[in-house]
């Protein structure tokens, strides 16, 4: 390692001695091949550098380049990128041709860019058009279904909740499976820093989607290995918009809309509920005799409603106490939801001259969610400036101050969570009879009370910014240095009112502050040179240092004079006050070479050495190499005559990436402080694991990129095998040791799958129709855990199975004779039993999808544009934990779903889905595969209809473009899942990394995604 340091230092010094060269000015005009009109905004770049300019409104550009500059690259979205040899010319005019499938886009890769046609690795990308006008708080949902191999799953319909992203499957059991996010070359924090009393939030909701120019997902090892020890889960590169030389363009977009839950489950009304009580009561008496309810004070001759009298308050109508059809009839599900609203305003300006370019934006988004008391609000500003101070030196900076506010509700597994109101029987009135006072004597907590008196507000101030300077040291060799910081300050204030279960009797408040500074320094050289016109070399090498400093403080107070006072200052008692801090760092060296021979043979070699403070002291540094090659067959002579084939490339890659997303001090044997009510002691928390190192993923990828019929049909096919070894595993140890696990490098798992993408320009005339379809499969298998089983509730990691299988008794249906629930006794699934405790636990479901994908369509005719996007997930199972109470045959008081009601066993001979109802008694209703359902769905995720006003109407008003549009989100879903929404993933309050990996496909009173309709206007000046 020392040697590397010296080598790099040497390189820096060598760089200093070159610093003189002559410049020459190149000018020209760029026109369109379609109509000969000038094309403004075309990017003109000296190949292999960031040096460049762009065309002005008249399609003209000027560029000062050093003598000997060989190639200029002209690119523009929707047009074919061209590389033009300078050959000593000073005027270079270029005619740009439309590119029906833009095969030659510039793709951002780590520490540089490549042309898409020259990629040797596997990279998915989504461009700004696909992200524009996103109305969800964060951009991830906009890439859902659009990127093959990338599984995006919203956690719930609550606003700003954590989102699960898996690039080519989950590669770890105990370390994080979320990809690394890089915004403009700077790794940013994507870990939840919210309170452990609630579900994780998504820090990426702080980034305004309208500012994003492109998103690249580096999927295979060749593309990702440049990020070394943190690349095994893939890397998401986000590039924000920058200005282009030319006149200043102003854009203003305004959107307003409303939303409602994508689905409601439907629970019993009063009469159905009463019917079920009576039925269940009679069933139990038939089994156990007339005294079956004596424990409830129901005599042998009493009727069933006496039992209800002993359980419920106010369930009879005081005026008609004997008419059971007259009491309260509350639809509690409706009480949890509301019609949400959303509004979003984006204003941006971009432009510049040949020295300075800028992009500036201001945005305000405000949403009232579909769940009562759940709102989100974000104000974001951005200023990206690039300055070319000379031909050799350019610098710039990004500033992105944001304030986002999230008004949250309790976690799904809390009575105070609005959706848990569905547990309340319809017999419970909302208000105390004859008053407007909320009923405090409901069967479970009346969720409207916490909704009225509780608040949980998160305010985040964040700035993801960087400063860079770039120097051309000599022809083809440049040096870039950048410092970036992701600075977050998050303030959470919670208050629980005096009438609520959690806040009584006199209110409780929390106040929590987190400051997270995550800063990065990148220094790297790039070298770009073409030798003898057939040997292109592109080299990148440098170092990176990242440090993260986390500070947290919090205080909790009790006992307030009234619910008006919500600050800790007004608390009579301090329940607790805490502060804590932690840090980690990465010091890395990286190198990559791209070689192109004869324009058709491509080779990439890359390597990264990563040192991390997290690794054990015996294993500080890891080394991550990758190699790949591609062959552009379509440039071979034997294919040049085949008209139909416009592009054909074979590629193959191999590489090693790592995962270091573990706790900052997991390698240490530590004792923490423990408070024994006034006395402070220390307790052991972890065993030392001094050899702890990164997890290693070796990935092989083979792929084909193709374009047929002048690239009207393009696509990619990939097959990959990802083998992870030395898993960073929480290895279970016997509890008798005083510990329950130790983090060690043990075990292996694999992911393999196919990805298939096809794009077509179906119609190209006046009516244009572009479509893109992708489907991908992933097969996850844990191959070695050293014989152990890792459990997290009902989820397991076990050898020979995919991660997070459901492990519980297998439900065998209903005994048609007596309505008993039946379960298989063992895994052979031959004999059944009616006793849940006699049924062997076994694998009954897999939360990982078999196939994911989507179909996007864009149509345009004259000024009209129409697009729709279908997204699907198949083959995954969902464990609906809430149905232990929502569909349990009235084992207790909870209201039941209509779907249960309609499918229950009632009389001998019934071939029913669910067992006989037995009031306040069990009948196999517990954790079993009765709660496991197929979670496949097909969803019409996005529909947009727009109309762009003809330019001639606008000429006199100084307006360049006007587009009005209407947009629908989650309009329609096809699924057999009986819960609210198959796109659900409850991970619990304050989950661990491992529990988030394992607890997949978990629905626990989890809110559905919103279905929204938005209307918008886009203005350009």
């Amino acid at each position: 390692m020392k040697r590397l340091c010296v080598f790099l230092a040497g390189l820096v010094l060598v760089g200093i001695s070159f610093a003189q060269a002559q410049t020459v000015r190149i000018t020209g005009t760029v026109t369109s091949s379609e109509d000969g009109a000038p094309v403004p905004g075309v990017s003109v770049i000296v190949k292999g550098t960031t040096l460049g300019s762009s065309t002005d409104i008249d399609g003209k550009y000027t560029l000062n380049v050093s003598v000997g500059t060989e190639t200029l690259v002209f690119s523009f979205v929707g047009l074919k990128t061209q590389e033009i040899a300078v050959s000593g010319r000073q005027i270079i005019d270029v005619i740009m041709e439309p590119d029906s499938k833009e095969l030659d886009e510039v793709v951002v890769v780590g520490y540089g860019t490549r042309l898409k046609s020259e990629l040797t690795g596997s990279v998915s990308q989504v461009k700004s058009e696909d992200i524009a006008n996103v109305t969800q708080p964060s951009f991830e949902s906009a890439i859902q279904g659009k990127t093959a191999g990338v599984y995006v799953q919203g956690g719930s319909g609550k606003l700003g909740q954590g989102i699960k992203i898996r690039v080519r499957g989950a590669a770890s059991v105990s370390a994080s499976n979320q990809p690394l996010y890089i915004v403009d070359n700077i790794p940013v924090n994507t870990d939840n820093i919210g309170s452990s009393g609630n579900e994780p939030t998504n820090p990426m909701a702080d980034l305004n989607p309208a500012d994003i120019e492109s998103i690249q997902v580096l999927k295979d090892a060749s593309a990702a290995a440049i990020y070394g020890a943190r690349a095994a889960n893939g890397v998401v590169l986000i590039t924000t918009k920058r200005g282009k030389e030319g006149k200043t363009n102003f854009n203003f977009t305004s959107q307003v809309g409303f939303s409602e839950p994508a689905n409601k489950v439907g629970f019993l009304n009063r009469n159905q509920y009463l019917q079920l009580v009576e039925e269940g009561f009679n069933n139990v008496r038939a089994m156990y005799g007339d005294n079956a309810y004596s424990w409830l004070g129901v005599g042998a001759t009493d009727s069933w409603d006496v039992g209800l009298d002993n359980l419920f308050n106010y369930w009879r109508d005081p005026n008609n106490p004997n008419d059971l059809t007259k009491g309260p009839d509350t639809n509690w599900e409706d009480q949890a939801f509301r019609r949400g609203t959303l509004q979003q305003y984006d204003l941006s300006a971009s432009g510049g001259n040949n020295k300075t370019t800028f992009y500036a934006s201001l945005s305000w988004a405000n949403q009232e969610g579909i769940i009562i008391n759940n709102d989100f609000d974000r104000i974001s500003a951005r200023l990206n400036i690039d300055q070319r101070s000379s031909d050799r030196v350019s610098f710039g900076f990004n500033l992105n101050p944001v304030r986002s506010r999230s008004f949250r509700v309790a976690n799904d597994n809390a009575f105070a969570s609005p959706l848990q109101m569905v547990a309340l029987p319809p017999l419970d009135p909302i208000y105390l009879p004859g008053s407007d006072v909320l009923n405090t004597r409901t069967s479970y907590e009346n969720g409207l009370i916490p909704a009225k008196y509780n608040s949980f507000n998160t305010t985040t101030y964040r700035n993801i910014g960087n400063v860079y300077a770039s120097f051309v040291l000599l022809e083809g060799l440049s040096f870039r240095s950048e410092v970036g910081a992701d600075l977050t300050n998050q303030h959470e204030e919670g208050y629980q009112g005096r009438l609520t279960n959690d806040g009584g009797p006199a209110g409780s408040a929390s106040d929590r502050n987190v400051t997270l500074l995550n800063y990065t320094l990148n220094n790297f050289f790039s070298y770009d040179r073409v030798f003898a016109e057939r040997f292109d070399v592109n080299l990148v090498g440098g170092m990176s240092y990242q440090q993260s400093d986390y500070n947290e403080s919090s205080a909790y107070g009790l006992n307030f004079p009234s619910d008006h006072f919500r600050k800790i200052n007004s608390a009579a008692e301090i329940e607790g006050a805490y502060s804590s801090a932690t840090n980690y760092s990465f010091l890395s060296y990286f190198f990559r070479s791209n070689i192109k021979l004869y324009d058709k043979y491509l080779f990439t070699l890359s390597a990264r050495a990563d040192g991390s403070s997290r690794f054990g002291k015996n294993n500080r540094y890891g080394f991550f190499p990758a190699a790949s090659a591609a062959w552009i067959l379509s440039k071979e002579e034997f294919l040049s005559n085949v008209e139909a084939i416009s592009f054909l490339k074979l590629r193959a890659s191999w590489g090693v990436t790592g995962n270091a997303e573990i706790g900052n001090f997991d390698s240490r044997g530590l004792y923490s402080a423990s408070n024994y009510a006034g006395y402070s002691g220390v307790i052991p928390v972890s065993l030392p694991s001094e050899d702890l190192k990164w997890e290693t993923t070796k990935q092989v990828d083979v792929g084909i990129d193709f374009g047929f019929f002048n690239n009207r049909i393009t696509g990619e096919i990939d097959y990959y095998v990802k083998n992870t070894s030395d898993l960073l595993l929480n290895v279970s140890v016997p509890g008798t040791s005083g510990y329950s696990f130790i983090t060690k490098n043990v075990g292996k798992l694999s992911n393999k799958g196919w990805e298939f993408v096809i794009n077509g320009a179906i119609l190209t005339g006046r009516l244009k129709w572009n479509a893109s379809f992708n489907i991908s499969s992933n097969e996850n298998e844990i191959t070695d855990l050293d014989g152990q089983i890792i459990r997290s509730g009902i989820w397991r990691a076990m050898e020979g199975q995919p991660l997070g299988v459901f492990f519980m008794p297998k439900y065998a249906g209903v005994d048609p004779q007596n309505g008993d629930a039946l379960f298989y006794k063992d895994e052979s699934r031959t004999e059944t039993t009616n006793s849940l405790s006699e049924a062997e636990h076994q694998v009954v479901g897999n939360p990982n999808p078999k196939f994911i994908g989507g179909l996007s369509n864009n149509l345009s005719y004259k000024g009209f544009d129409f697009s729709f996007m279908l997204q699907f997930v198949t083959g995954n199972d969902i464990y609906n934990g809430g149905r232990q109470w929502q569909a349990d045959g009235l084992s207790w008081l909870d209201n039941q779903t209509e779907e249960y009601f309609e499918n229950r066993w009632q009389k001998p001979g019934d071939d029913a889905k669910y067992p006989q109802a037995r009031w306040l008694e069990g009948n196999g209703y517990g954790v079993s595969s009765m709660l496991v359902f197929d979670g496949s769905y097909l969803r019409l995720k996005d529909v947009t209809l727009g109309y762009t006003l003809p330019k001639r109407l606008l000429e006199n008003y100084g307006i360049a473009t006007v587009r009005i549009f209407a947009k629908g989100l989650n309009i329609w879903t096809l699924t057999n899942y009986p819960g609210w929404d198959p796109e659900a993933n409850f991970v619990g309050a304050g989950p661990t990394v491992q529990s988030q990996n394992m607890q997949q496909g978990y629905d626990f009173y989890t809110a559905p995604q919103p279905r929204s309709i938005t209307f918008g206007v886009q203005l350009g000046f």
Binding site: K2, C5, L8, V12, L13, I16, N313, S390, V393, T440, S443, Y444, A469, F471, S481, T500, N501, D502, G504, P505, A506, N523, M543, Y545, E575, S580, T582, N583, S585, L587, G611, S612, R620, G669, L670, Y671, A673, S674, N675, Y676, A677, G678, S680, G681, V682, I683, P684, P688, S732, V733, P734, G735, S737, G738, Y739, I742, G787, Q788, R791, L836
Partner: protein, 480 residues
């Protein structure tokens, strides 16, 4: 130009020169093992850490109490009406080896035992003067935790004539690193009891006498005697049980230690005069305020309690009218447990309108583990069974408790029967974690389908332990 480049290069150079120091961070909320056990202060803080586990939901502030009272219940005193499946199963006597609190209790117990073993192996760091105290307290903690484990995870003492039936694993040496981990088998109940008695007797001899309340709530010789009395009672070693109880009662100066009313012992933020041992709880350190902790499950007050434990009216009816321990109070205006002066109240929080016990009405109050009345009742039972009168006659001992409760007094020794002793014990100690163990000692069946020695009344060995076990020596209890 050159200058800029030079500056940049120097910066880059600076950074790479001292590579490794950039990767060194120390944890700020924790410390390496080898920096803890370096001096007496470190050992003492580890001992305080061990005590902190006692106040968790896994022991006296949680499952020590309601495992016993819920598993041993047949519905005649209380009904579990909560939604937590684990406790619901406990009430139904259908325990699941995968249940979280069952494995959590096991793991926390051994975690504490291992910490005690670490302390005991580092006594050389402690000054001679303080060594007896630290050793005594560590052995006390280890002893009571083995007692807790063997009572819940094994059939009771006396289940087999020679007590050769399976107890729990025991560990004699500390685990410091991965290589220290062993996969122990379960020792016989006889051997586990030997260890418990050895530890508690050692604690009794090493520690000074005194009320724990005056000694910031830690173990004393007196507390060790009180636990020994419990241990001997469960072994039906009546003589020793009565003797140890007498030691405690004498050190508490007899009946004068009793609070004026039964209700006064509960929901306090410190010891009362009759408390022999309590676990500390306060606002910042407690077993749970909304999803865990004994108060959470018993209480139904505005803003506190899930109201999961409902008391039956029949149980109240079993008290004499004058008995302060059987009074029911209906105060819909009550805000906190402080507004309830009776032993029972009509809940006005979650699932309002049902009868609740006022023993556990706060999450931040100390939890009673051993009170002087238990010593009287245990002594009465031991003497009665043994036909002795160590300390005092059984009917006098029972009357001490009856008198305080304003229940009718027994006229003479002739009124004392085992049934009276059982009934007095339940009335005084109900919902304090005694029921299951008492029934097993008495050989009383819980209901028609669950005899005192039913497999269903023994907690299963946690499934995770069997899964982890590489030796195959760890055996599950019968019936699972």
């Amino acid at each position: 130009m050159r200058r800029i480049l030079f500056a940049i290069s120097s910066c880059a150079l600076l950074l790479v020169v001292s590579c490794d120091s950039y990767l060194d961070f120390e944890p700020q909320q924790s410390q390496d093992y080898d920096k803890i056990f370096i001096d007496e202060e470190g050992v003492r803080s580890a001992l305080d850490g061990a005590y902190s586990f006692l106040g968790s939901r896994d022991f006296y502030a949680g499952t020590s109490i309601f495992y016993s009272d819920v598993l041993g219940e047949n519905g005649s005193r209380l009904t579990w009406t909560g939604t937590f499946i684990g406790y619901k199963n406990m009430f139904a006597k259908t325990l699941d080896p995968n249940e979280g609190t069952i494995s959590s209790k096991w793991i926390t117990a051994y975690r504490t035992i291992n910490l005690c073993n670490n302390i005991l192996s580092n006594l050389n760091l402690v000054s001679e003067g303080n060594r007896p105290n630290i050793e005594g307290e560590a052995r006390f903690l280890r002893g009571i935790l083995y007692f807790e484990l063997v009572r819940f995870y094994s059939q009771p003492y006396g289940y087999t004539a020679d007590n050769s039936h399976a107890g729990v694993p025991m560990l004699s040496s500390p685990v410091v690193k991965y290589e220290d981990i062993v996969f122990p088998a379960r020792e016989s109940v006889d051997d586990v009891y030997d260890q418990i008695i050895a530890d508690l007797v050692a604690a009794k001899n090493l520690l000074e006498e005194g009320r724990a309340g005056s000694n910031r709530g830690l173990a004393t010789s007196t507390v060790a005697s009180a636990f020994l009395s419990r241990v001997y009672l469960s072994m039906k070693d009546w003589g020793q049980a009565a003797a140890e109880a007498t030691t405690v009662i004498n050190q508490f100066e007899g009946a004068s230690a009793l609070n004026v009313t039964p209700r006064a012992a509960y929901n306090n933020t410190g010891y009362t005069t009759e408390d022999v041992f309590m676990v500390r709880q306060n606002l910042t350190s407690h077993a749970g305020a909304s999803n865990d902790g004994v108060g959470t499950f018993f209480a139904s007050l505005p803003g506190f309690g899930r109201g999961d434990v409902q008391i039956s009216a029949n149980f109240l009816a079993s008290f004499e009218a004058t008995d302060l321990r059987g009074v029911l109070q209906d105060n819909p205006q009550a805000k906190t447990i402080g507004d309830i002066t009776a032993m029972f109240y009509v809940g006005n929080g979650t699932r309002a309108g049902r009868i609740r016990s006022s023993k556990w009405g706060r999450f931040d109050a100390f939890i009673n583990v051993i009170r002087i009345p238990e010593m009287y009742l245990s002594r009465a039972e031991a003497n009665f069974m043994n036909g002795t009168s160590i300390g005092d006659e059984p009917y006098n001992d029972l009357n001490v408790i009856r008198a305080r409760a304003k229940a009718s007094l027994l006229a003479s020794g002739a009124d004392v029967t085992l049934d009276v002793i059982k009934s007095d014990r339940i009335k005084e100690l109900c919902f304090e974690g005694h029921l299951l163990h008492d029934l097993k000692r008495w050989g009383d069946d819980i209901n028609a389908s669950h005899a005192w020695n039913s497999d269903a009344l023994v907690l299963p060995i946690p499934q995770r332990e069997l899964d982890v076990d590489k030796s195959g020596l760890l055996k599950q209890n019968q019936g699972y």
